[in-house]
Symmetry: C2
Subunit: 175 residues, 2 copies
């Protein structure tokens, strides 16, 4: 499966790196989509550095089978770009897998796609989600149809487990 990882500076290092590695190890392709191509991206803890492969101006949702939104300060940067918001909305609208951890659901709030959806997020984002009509659950991982969400770095193992499980379930015709 082809997964778009949307990322900007000051992401939470482990929330990007560990699922990214796990997706690759499981045989999926992961492409880092950023605000511009070739931008160097350092994690907020400074332990991980990576680079965007394509910019949002070049990215099309139909190139990908799923969307991965790591946490930290990155999602709030990403959602300042209307094309990035539309990109995320396309995955939610089409029912393709979306994996969002920690502050990741901030991008889904900006895409107006969480009303009535069951999900979790970083503690402070949980209340934002509830106020815009989401069904918020405070647990390590929540799976609601195409949407897998988790709260924080400690939840990463559960987040990876359920994300990989969902990718296995996607019908071959959709690939």
């Amino acid at each position: 499966m082809r997964i778009a990882c949307v990322l900007d500076v000051d992401y939470e290092d482990s929330e990007y790196k560990q699922p990214y590695d796990a997706f690759k190890q499981a045989g999926h392709q992961v492409t880092i989509v950023g605000l511009e191509p070739g931008k160097e991206l350092k994690g907020k803890k400074g332990t991980v550095t990576t680079k965007t492969e394509i910019g949002i101006d070049q990215a099309r949702p139909d190139q990908f089978d799923g969307l991965f939104i790591p946490g930290g300060y990155s999602p709030d940067h990403l959602r300042a770009n209307p094309k990035m918001v539309q990109f995320a909305k396309a995955f939610m609208d089409s029912g393709k897998p979306v994996f969002a951890i920690c502050h990741g659901p901030q991008l889904l709030i900006a895409a107006h796609t969480v009303k009535g959806r069951k999900l979790t997020a970083w503690q402070t984002i949980q209340d934002d989600l509830a106020q815009v009509g989401a069904n918020v659950v405070d647990q390590d991982v929540v799976v609601d149809k195409n949407l897998v969400t988790s709260r924080k770095p400690a939840d990463i193992p559960a987040f990876i487990r359920e994300s990989l499980k969902l990718l296995e379930k996607v019908p071959v015709g959709a690939r």
Copy 2:
């Protein structure tokens, strides 16, 4: 007037420092209230370092005449603490002056105090505010009764001007 400046690490340097200095220069007292007392707080750009004077466990709204919420990543850290959210709510409920810039209104969203209020904020927070029922205006400064809000560092002069003007208007009996 006694102003509580609520602050945590990775605040936007100029959005803390410039209004802080302007409030002091105008003769007001400003106390830095943080998540814990004596915590060193560096700005996200690394150009300003300060220290909390009192922790939220020691702070009471009746000790202060106004609330100042600088931007950056600080407001999202602060609103993870329920006492900090209650502290902010007390100023909004009592109608004491509240000055919030950039991401500052995130704390007011967490306090459930923005519905029906006219305000502005950082671009990405503007949509959060609109979704929870605020009347959002995209301009350098917005004054709505006790509430002064601005969007970004470029708006600081207008933010300071209207904040100081509001402090002059607060009746002496309320001091």
